[in-house]
Symmetry: C2
Subunit: 357 residues, 2 copies
């Protein structure tokens, strides 16, 4: 495959409506700036959709699952089988992401990107397995370049299918035992941040476990001795199939001018890859939360991102994206539905100082 | 009136279900603690309702409006008429709180607690005016003790009516030009925090405006020379009718074992009064956000509160309570709807260290 033909192109947003959007926001019946970050989101969604009256339609959560060879090095207290078990839990509607997707009427798409389990063909699962889990990146690259490109291309294609079916806002989630290890390595190499600052306690690692995880990941990074200037090479080396396919889906959705709801640590690592390939993608991203996973705050700072929620979530699955979605909807709603000072007959502030309310 | 007969009694929550609720939360298909603050909210709502399967019903936003005599001292760039104009905006459905209440199917009740305007009787407004605005607390107490008690009692009665109609979760909002000045004084005196730390830029005060506001409020606090050990006296001196009535409504709702969604700076100041009268009320409170108004972060810290949102909102009206409501609903939903490790057939963590995902 020629990478230039498989990778979506993400265009820079026209700023032509910027002034009109700001003017519309500022004339709503509220003090200037009083809706805080919602005002920035309203502006952003207006620019993404190139309209003063944006609409969110068919919000869709794409949850990618994949297994990781590095779990053989003892970086997780959960057995690898949990990845497949949780996929079945998603299909049965019992996981956290099911609950939150139902609450907010978001479509849930569960994709087998590379789980080490053969699922029954007769389910709602989207079967897109590249391989039955990655290789152990302590010893070799997690996947071949060709597998990596396949995962990216498949993700892009799946997102474009959803966009064609009417979705213009996407959340991205994941499930994969071992994938904070993968994301930590991607972050360290792509951002040139020492691995110590990229590794966290995951689901509640004790001090000894954290030391063990750090030791394993240091060893892997030393083994590959890689620079961060070739995102695809870094992705193939340390990535998971779910991360690669998610990166592709993000690119595909952004190409279609969708709003991208970025979840936690793993999803932000996938975005890091996508943003190195197509930097304009960042203009389409709403950062939904800062995870409790240690490296995430640093990673968000690296991207200059201001998340909407900071409530200690560290579950993945796209749960932060789902939980923050009503705030994005609220931003669009106030832009469309609030009265202006003029239409409501409300007096504006007088020149001079003072507080209003 | 005898205050003991008009003030609701708020009982301390039984902790008898604590262990069972924690156990239920910990067996959900997620790592321990991975839903962060939502887990604390789920536990709290279970304790408030004394059940392992809580339900939120008829969520209700009570928005109290009142005018403030202190605006004559030039503490606001908006004319006093804006209070009444915004009440009409609420009734016409054009304000931010209307938009967010509609989005989340919350009932909106707009109460005239003391606006300096005669509203048409034939509207959806709840007419509970104590007086047409407070007196200027630079020169005298804002209200009499009898007016203060009337406002409290009316608020409690209104909340109990809503509870009787099926509401078990309440947000509280306000509108009142000048009421950050009132709230700043309440905070300073009741918490014994220097007024400098309680005053903010409100809706975007410049440096000169902030200095003017601070000077006025210092003068008022010096004039009354009051200690903070009598909440009702402090409330009558510096309060607004909307703040007093909201404090009463909070007490009434808590007496009925409702969940209280605490909004921003003004609402938290009202809670401060309520909590001095009935300290158990804090057990019923979900702090929905940290306002952009400077004193609020300090006030939340004083109360030991951890807010759900921190997105720079500083609009009042109960908007933060409305915007955070889906998170409270999400907490209840995961508790009721998520599968357990056992029911979903998912393996639990093995003894030992490591991260899971």
């Amino acid at each position: 495959m020629n990478l230039n033909t498989i990778l979506p192109k993400v265009e820079s947003l026209s700023q032509s409506l910027q002034a009109a959007l700001v003017d519309k926001i500022n004339h709503k019946t509220k003090p200037l700036g009083a809706l805080g970050q919602l005002e920035a989101v309203a502006l952003q969604v207006g620019l993404i959709q190139q309209t003063l009256t944006p609409q969110l339609s068919n919000p869709t959560l794409m949850v990618f699952a994949g297994d990781h060879g590095v779990v053989n090095a003892g970086v997780s207290p959960y057995p690898q089988a949990v990845t497949a078990q949780m996929v079945l839990n998603f299909l049965q509607g019992g996981a956290a992401i099911n609950v939150f997707a139902r609450q907010h009427n978001m479509r849930l798409r569960v994709i087998d990107a590379g789980v080490n389990h053969e699922f029954d063909a007769n389910t709602d699962l989207i079967h897109a397995k590249v391989a039955a889990g990655t290789a152990n990146f302590l010893q070799e690259a997690a996947m071949t370049q060709s597998q990596c490109e396949q995962a990216l291309a498949t993700g892009a294609s799946l997102a474009k299918q959803e966009a064609a079916a009417g979705a213009n806002v996407f959340g991205f989630g994941e499930m994969g035992i071992g994938n904070t290890s993968s994301a930590s390595c991607l972050m360290s190499v792509l951002c040139a941040i020492p691995i110590e600052e990229c590794v966290g306690r995951g689901t509640g690692l004790d001090d000894a476990g954290l030391a063990q995880k750090l030791s394993v990941l240091k060893q892997a990074i030393d083994f590959h001795g890689m620079r961060g200037d070739n995102a695809l090479e870094v992705l193939a080396t340390f990535g998971g199939y779910e991360i690669a396919m998610m990166a592709g889906a993000m690119l595909g959705a952004a190409e279609q001018h969708a709003v991208l709801l970025i979840d936690g640590f793993i999803a932000t690592a996938a975005l890091l890859v996508a943003a190195q390939l197509q930097p304009n993608i960042l203009q389409y991203c709403v950062f939904t939360h800062c995870s409790g996973e240690a490296g995430h705050r640093r990673l968000l700072a690296h991207l200059g991102a201001t998340p909407l929620l900071d409530i200690g979530l560290r579950l993945g699955e796209g749960t932060g994206a789902a939980l923050a979605y009503p705030l994005v909807q609220a931003a669009v709603n106030f832009l469309n539905e609030m009265a202006s000072f003029e239409s409501a007959g409300v007096s504006t502030a007088e020149a001079g100082a003072g507080e209003t309310a």
